[in-house]
C-alpha cells in the first residue's frame, strides 16, 4: 500500500457507485422483472512507477461502456422474442369463434382489475363477420360457459392480487 498522494487515482475515485439494494426482482407496471447481473471487465498488468497511458486510460471506460451496451442490447432482443401476455391472435383454423375459444384464449392473458374489482378485458380487433359471430355466441351462454368464465375471473383476480402484492419500486 502506497500512501504518497492517496491510494487511487482521483479520477477513478470520483466515479459514483450506486449499489442496487433491493434484490434481483421488481415489478414495473404490470410485469415482474427479473434482474440479471451483467458485468464487463478489463485487465491491466501494473508495473513499477507506471500507470495506464493517457489514451488507453480514457479509452477504457468507453470500451467497457460499449461492451455493456452490447450485452444489454442482446438481452433486450432475447426478451422481445418471447410472446407478451398482453397481446395475442385468434385464427380461424383454431375452431369456430365462440365464447369457449375466447375463454381459452384469455387464460394466457394478464388481466387487470379496476378499483371496483371489475376485470379490464383486452381490446379485440375483428372483422365485421367475426364480431357478429362471437357476439352471437356470447349473447346466450350455456351454464357451463358461465361457470368457466367465473372460474377464469377468479383465477385472474388471484393472479392480479399476487402481482400487486409483490409490486415495488426499484431504486
Amino acid at each position: 500500500m502506497f500512501a504518497a498522494l492517496g491510494f487511487s487515482d482521483p479520477l477513478i475515485s470520483q466515479i459514483p457507485i450506486r449499489p442496487q439494494k433491493e434484490g434481483n426482482r421488481a415489478a414495473v407496471g404490470d410485469s415482474p422483472i427479473t434482474y440479471r447481473k451483467k458485468s464487463v471487465s478489463c485487465k491491466w498488468s501494473p508495473e513499477i512507477g507506471r500507470g495506464i497511458p493517457t489514451e488507453k486510460f480514457f479509452d477504457i471506460p468507453l470500451k467497457l461502456g460499449k461492451e455493456m451496451a452490447l450485452k444489454q442490447a442482446k438481452d433486450v432482443f432475447t426478451l422481445i422474442e418471447k410472446p407478451t401476455p398482453h397481446t395475442g391472435t385468434i385464427s380461424k383454423d383454431e375452431g369456430p369463434l365462440n365464447l369457449d375459444l375466447w375463454i381459452s384464449k384469455m387464460d394466457s392473458f394478464e388481466i387487470n382489475f379496476d378499483e371496483n374489482g371489475v376485470p379490464l378485458w383486452p381490446q379485440f380487433f375483428l372483422t365485421e363477420d367475426a364480431r357478429a359471430e362471437i357476439l352471437q355466441s356470447m349473447s346466450s351462454p350455456a351454464p357451463e360457459q358461465v361457470q368457466k368464465l367465473a372460474e377464469l375471473v377468479a383465477k385472474k383476480r388471484t393472479e392480479f392480487d399476487e402481482r400487486e402484492t409483490r409490486r415495488r419500486l426499484v431504486d
Binding site: 502506497f2 504518497a4 498522494l5
Partner: protein, 524 residues
C-alpha cells in the same frame, strides 16, 4: 459528545496515532521530552522524558486491551523497559528511573495480577516497578487539554466534522485543516494563552489524523504535522516569542512530521510500493512518483548518515529519470526538484542533478512567458488540482487563450544555477529567461511565511535585466515593476578550493530560498 468522540478516537487509534498527543500531555505537566518515536534502538522506550522533579520517565506505548497473551507477547520489550536504563546525552550521570506501560485500551485482571507479581520480583532485584496508564487515564488527560477549545460555532463544527470523518486515504483537506488550525490559534494571544492553545492544537491534530495513521497514509500525516508546527511557530512569532511550553508543542509537531517522513521513506525502499494497486492514469502515477521521490530525498538530506537509503534513492531516481517516470506538475513542485537535485549532488551524481535543473529551467522558460497560451500551474495549485486541469483540458478542443503569466520559481532557480557556475546554460537561455516575469512573495511580517494563506502580503513582479548576466555571471540583477533595479543577494563565485567544494553542496542561501518557495506554496 466531546467525550464520546475522544472515546471513539481512542478505541480506533494505534500507538503511533496517539504518541504525539501523549507527549503533549506530558509537556503540559512540565515534563521535558527528550525523545519520542520508534526505532530498533529504543529498547522498549517509545517516549523518554524528564519529569519536573528530575526523575527520568520512560513509556512504552501499546494499543488495545492488554491481557495475559498480549503481555507475554511483548514481555521482551517490557523487560527491556524495566531492566535496561535509558541512555541519552541529556541524561545526568545519576537519576531516579521510572518505567511506564501505556495503552489506549484496558489491562485485564489476570494481566494486572501478572504485572503485580513481576513488580515484586523486579523490586527485589533492585529495579523500579512498572507503572501503568490505561485508556481511561489517556481519555481524562486528552479531554482536559482540549476541553476549552472544542469548536462551538457552526462553521468550525462543520470544519472539524469534515476533517474527522475521512477515509484516511489521501483525503486530507489541507485548506480546511489550515482554517481549523487558524481558528484554534487566533491572533493576539498572550504568551500564557498560547501555551494552552498550542497544546490543544496538537491534541486536535492527533484526533484529526487518527484515520490517516490507521491507514498508514504517511504523506497526509507528514503534511498535517508540518502545517501544525508552522501554525504554532507563526502564532508564537506573533505573540512576541516562544517559551519552553510552546517550544515543546512545536517540537512535538515537528518530530511527528519527521517520523511520518521517515515512514514514507522506509516505504519507498520497496520498489513494489511504486506499483499502482488500481487502474491508474499514468500522469497521476508519474506525479506520485515525483512526490514520493522528493519526500524520500528530503529525508535522506535530513539524515546524511544513512548512506544506504540515499544510494537506493539515487538509484531509483536514475531509473525514473531514464524511463520518464517523474511528473513535475507545476511551479509548486520546486521543493521536490530541489530535494532530488541536492541529494544527487551530495551523492556525487552531479550530471543527474544538472539534468533536473536544466529540465526545470526549460519548462519554466518555455511555458511561463508573459502571454503564454499554456502556462504551468502556479505555486498555489496542488498536484491533484493540476492533474484534474490536465484531464479537463483533454476534452477541451477550444483554442487556448493567452494569459498573463509569471514565475515563482525562476529567480531561485537562476540563483541555484549561478551558484553552480552553469554560465553557458544560463547564457543559452538568457533571452527567454529575461522575458519571464518573476513573482517574489513578500509577507508584511516574517510570520507570514508560516501561514497557509497569508493575507497581508505583496506579490512583486520583476524581470531579469537582460544584459547583466551577459556581462558577468557574478552580477545578477533584476528590474522591479516600478523600474527599480536591484542586485540579488551576494553569490560567491570565486573559484577558490573551498568555494569550489561548496558549489555542489546546498548552501545556506539555497536553503533559505527553498524555505521561501515551500512557504510560497503554503501561503496562499
Amino acid at each position: 459528545m466531546k467525550e464520546r468522540l475522544v472515546d471513539d478516537w481512542l478505541t480506533r487509534i494505534n500507538e503511533r496515532g496517539y504518541q504525539t498527543a501523549f507527549g503533549q500531555v506530558l509537556a503540559a505537566q512540565g515534563f521535558s521530552i527528550l525523545r519520542i518515536g520508534h526505532s530498533a534502538y529504543e529498547h522498549g522506550k517509545d517516549v523518554l522524558a524528564v519529569a519536573p522533579n528530575g526523575e527520568i520517565h520512560c513509556y512504552q506505548l501499546k494499543d488495545g486491551d492488554i491481557d495475559i497473551g498480549a503481555f507475554e507477547h511483548d514481555f521482551g520489550q517490557i523487560s527491556a523497559l524495566v531492566q535496561a536504563r535509558p541512555s541519552h546525552p541529556s541524561l545526568p550521570a545519576d537519576y531516579i528511573y521510572r518505567p511506564f506501560l501505556v495503552t489506549n485500551g484496558l489491562f485485564t485482571d489476570p494481566a494486572l495480577d501478572r504485572i503485580l507479581h513481576h513488580n515484586l520480583g523486579w523490586e527485589k532485584l533492585g529495579f523500579s516497578r512498572l507503572e501503568l496508564h490505561d485508556g481511561r487515564w489517556l481519555h481524562r488527560h486528552f479531554t482536559d487539554l482540549s476541553l476549552d477549545f472544542w469548536p462551538t460555532s457552526p462553521p468550525d463544527v462543520r470544519q472539524f466534522r469534515r476533517l474527522y470523518l475521512v477515509d484516511g486515504r489521501g483525503d486530507l483537506d489541507s485548506e480546511t485543516f489550515a482554517r481549523f488550525m487558524g481558528s484554534l490559534l487566533p491572533p493576539d494571544l498572550s504568551r500564557r494563552e498560547l501555551e494552552r492553545h498550542a497544546a490543544a492544537v496538537n491534541i486536535f491534530a492527533s484526533y484529526i489524523l487518527g484515520e490517516f495513521y490507521r491507514q498508514n497514509d504517511h504523506w497526509s500525516v507528514f503534511r498535517a504535522w508540518t502545517m501544525t508546527a508552522a501554525a504554532i511557530a507563526c502564532a508564537s512569532e506573533r505573540s512576541g516569542g516562544a517559551n519552553d511550553a510552546v517550544n515543546a508543542s512545536f517540537t512535538l509537531a515537528r518530530d511527528a512530521a519527521r517520523e511520518a517522513l521517515g515512514a514514507l521513506a522506509a516505504e519507498c525502499q520497496d520498489e513494489n510500493a511504486f506499483k499502482p494497486t488500481h487502474l491508474e492514469w499514468d500522469e497521476y502515477t508519474r506525479v506520485r512518483n515525483a512526490v514520493a521521490m522528493g519526500a524520500w530525498a528530503a529525508w535522506c538530506l535530513l539524515y546524511p548518515e544513512d548512506r544506504g537509503k540515499a544510494r537506493a534513492c539515487i538509484s531509483m531516481l536514475e531509473r525514473f529519470v531514464r524511463d520518464g517516470r517523474l511528473g513535475f506538475w507545476g511551479e509548486s513542485c520546486l521543493p521536490f526538484v530541489c530535494a532530488l537535485s541536492w541529494l544527487a549532488e551530495r551523492e556525487g551524481e552531479v550530471g543527474q542533478a544538472k539534468r533536473l535543473w536544466e529540465g526545470w529551467l526549460q519548462a519554466i522558460v518555455s511555458q511561463q512567458q508573459r502571454q503564454s497560451p499554456n502556462p504551468l500551474p502556479d505555486a498555489y495549485t496542488s498536484a491533484e488540482d493540476a492533474l484534474l486541469k490536465i484531464a479537463d483540458s483533454l476534452s477541451d478542443n477550444e483554442p487556448k487563450r493567452r494569459v498573463a503569466t509569471s514565475s515563482y520559481s525562476l529567480l531561485p532557480l537562476v540563483l541555484l544555477l549561478v551558484n553552480r557556475n552553469y554560465k553557458s546554460e544560463l547564457e543559452t537561455n538568457w533571452k527567454a529567461i529575461s522575458q519571464v516575469t518573476l513573482t517574489v512573495f513578500k509577507p508584511d511580517d516574517k510570520a507570514g511565511y508560516l501561514e497557509w494563506r497569508c493575507a497581508k502580503r505583496i506579490g512583486d513582479g520583476s524581470i531579469f535585466q537582460a544584459t547583466a548576466i551577459m556581462e558577468g555571471i557574478g552580477r545578477v540583477s533584476f528590474v522591479a515593476q516600478d523600474g527599480q533595479t536591484s542586485v540579488c543577494p551576494p553569490i560567491r563565485l570565486a573559484i577558490s578550493p573551498d568555494v569550489r567544494a561548496r558549489v555542489f553542496a546546498p548552501s545556506d542561501l539555497e536553503y533559505s530560498w527553498l524555505a521561501r518557495c515551500r512557504l510560497q506554496t503554503a501561503s496562499r
